[in-house]
Assembly symmetry: C2
Homo-oligomer: 153 residues x 2
């Protein structure tokens, strides 16, 4: 069982305590906040990147590839009707190092078809695409399509 | 368009930059991390709380209710098969103040049927339930069921 707690600070500012680790959230100024911390939807974008990034780094490490730099960008578009949610998102992987292109592609493919639970959840209401850039060259891009897990697990 | 960026720091530690606002993530020790920051899935739990908390606080403010304390807990259970994702989650709202019970219920209901995009997205693969505790008394509990938005928006 995973657990977390939230406390209201003031205005639109909230603080979460997860195993003693603190996360703050605030609304943007256009939504009545003061822009002191990411919004909840921005945290979801960050979690989408972090979840697949952890997969890709650990898979490439197991494949004994030497990553000197690993960065990602995400861009997402929201619906205009409530409940406003992501309708399109692109995950861009930017890797540098002594990495074989087919291994970089295999690591990203494994994460985005089988392992990354956060992107799996968001993919139910959002068309997610990805692009892999290795040492400044695009080596793969396409749609994210997860293999469905077995039922009842 | 919403945007964010991620950089790998070391091991399983990553840092996101969202409009200049920093969010860190780390894996737990059992997943090869060092537990210096919440995991991506924990960030999603925090975003689930923050998204509905912002709705509820702003709706109650518009209703001129006096909130002296607003806290939330979330508990979630993951699947054991990949891609591991939330299969059940409970959102517990704990409000204190000079608040009419029916207005607290209406604020939570509005958020969790119509406004909260983060819980809407997660509800596609997870059974979400909620409980509202006002001044230490449970005043409402039940399943979360969103009204589907119009297509193509």
């Amino acid at each position: 069982m995973m657990k977390s707690s939230l406390s209201w600070l003031e205005n639109m500012q909230f603080q979460c305590d997860t195993r003693g680790l603190i996360t703050k959230m605030d609304a943007t100024e256009e939504h009545g906040g003061q822009n002191t911390a990411p919004s909840p939807k921005e945290l979801v974008l960050n979690a989408m990147m972090g979840c697949t990034a952890m997969d890709v780094v650990s898979i490439l490490k197991k494949m004994r590839q030497e990553i000197t730099e690993f960065k990602m960008d995400i861009e997402a578009e929201k619906t205009t009707e409530h409940p406003m949610h992501f309708k399109m998102a692109e995950l861009i992987f930017m890797l540098k190092g002594n990495i074989e292109p087919e291994k970089a592609i295999k690591a990203v493919d494994s994460s985005l078809t089988r392992y990354c639970g956060v992107n799996y959840m968001i993919s139910k209401t959002c068309i997610i695409t990805f692009k892999v850039i290795l040492n400044d060259s695009v080596i793969k891009q396409g749609p994210v399509n997860f293999i469905e897990p077995k039922q009842g697990t």
